[in-house]
Symmetry: C2
Subunit: 132 residues, 2 copies
């Protein structure tokens, strides 16, 4: 289900951190107008509407968002799936810091107490599934 070959971003353009916040809003609900996106991210970041518009434009330019005209304005919709983005970023980190192996990442998270009891239980059951 998606992620297999869907490369996303044409040419390997990367999504910046601020842009990512905009994507998150649109992954929650889409399509949305610029104003709606501004309102949606308003809780997290303190951006002027102008800033949101700039980010939306850049994301469209990067091929991460599609626009659909709705009267005099645009509605924006993600062109890449959150799962693909998240997977890509995770992989990048694992590659860059752990030589592509996930186990050391796990060890680090565990060591730094970033794992809650629920996390551990959850991961355990995931492992059970994987082993089948």
């Amino acid at each position: 289900m998606g992620g297999a070959k869907a490369k996303g971003l044409l040419g390997g353009e990367r999504i910046s951190e601020a842009e990512h916040a905009v994507m998150e809003a649109l992954w929650v609900r889409a399509p949305m107008s610029a104003a709606e996106v501004g309102e949606a991210v308003g809780g997290q970041r303190d951006w002027s509407l102008a800033t949101v518009k700039t980010l939306l434009s850049r994301l469209v330019a990067k091929g991460a968002l599609a626009t659909e005209a709705d009267g005099r304005r645009f509605l924006y919709t993600p062109l890449i799936e959150r799962a693909d983005y998240v997977g890509g970023e995770s992989r990048r980190l694992v590659d860059r810091l752990f030589g592509g192996r996930a186990a050391p990442l796990f060890a680090h998270l565990a060591e730094s107490e970033a794992l809650s009891a629920e996390d551990i239980a959850e991961i355990e059951s995931l492992l059970q599934e994987l082993k089948q």
Copy 2:
């Protein structure tokens, strides 16, 4: 073992990706001169020595490296530990993409086949330790 209070980078300066490659070289062996670092990273990136020097200077400015005079040149040594850097970056990713929970990260890595059989075995034994 380190990481407890060793904050690293003064003021929260971030290490860029290119700079990180330099840090990796110095985490493997330190101290090293600029020329030695250039040689060490030569395999990975195709940088001119000038580029390496720039990166070293920036890292010193950021408080990530210490310099020690050795005749007419400097020897560079990391001021932050790799474990701290890696831990911080991992945490940042988990916070940004998974709301701070590590389990979904694993779900993603698992789903995207980023987990090898060894990874799974290794994580399993780590889990056993954690549960004690």
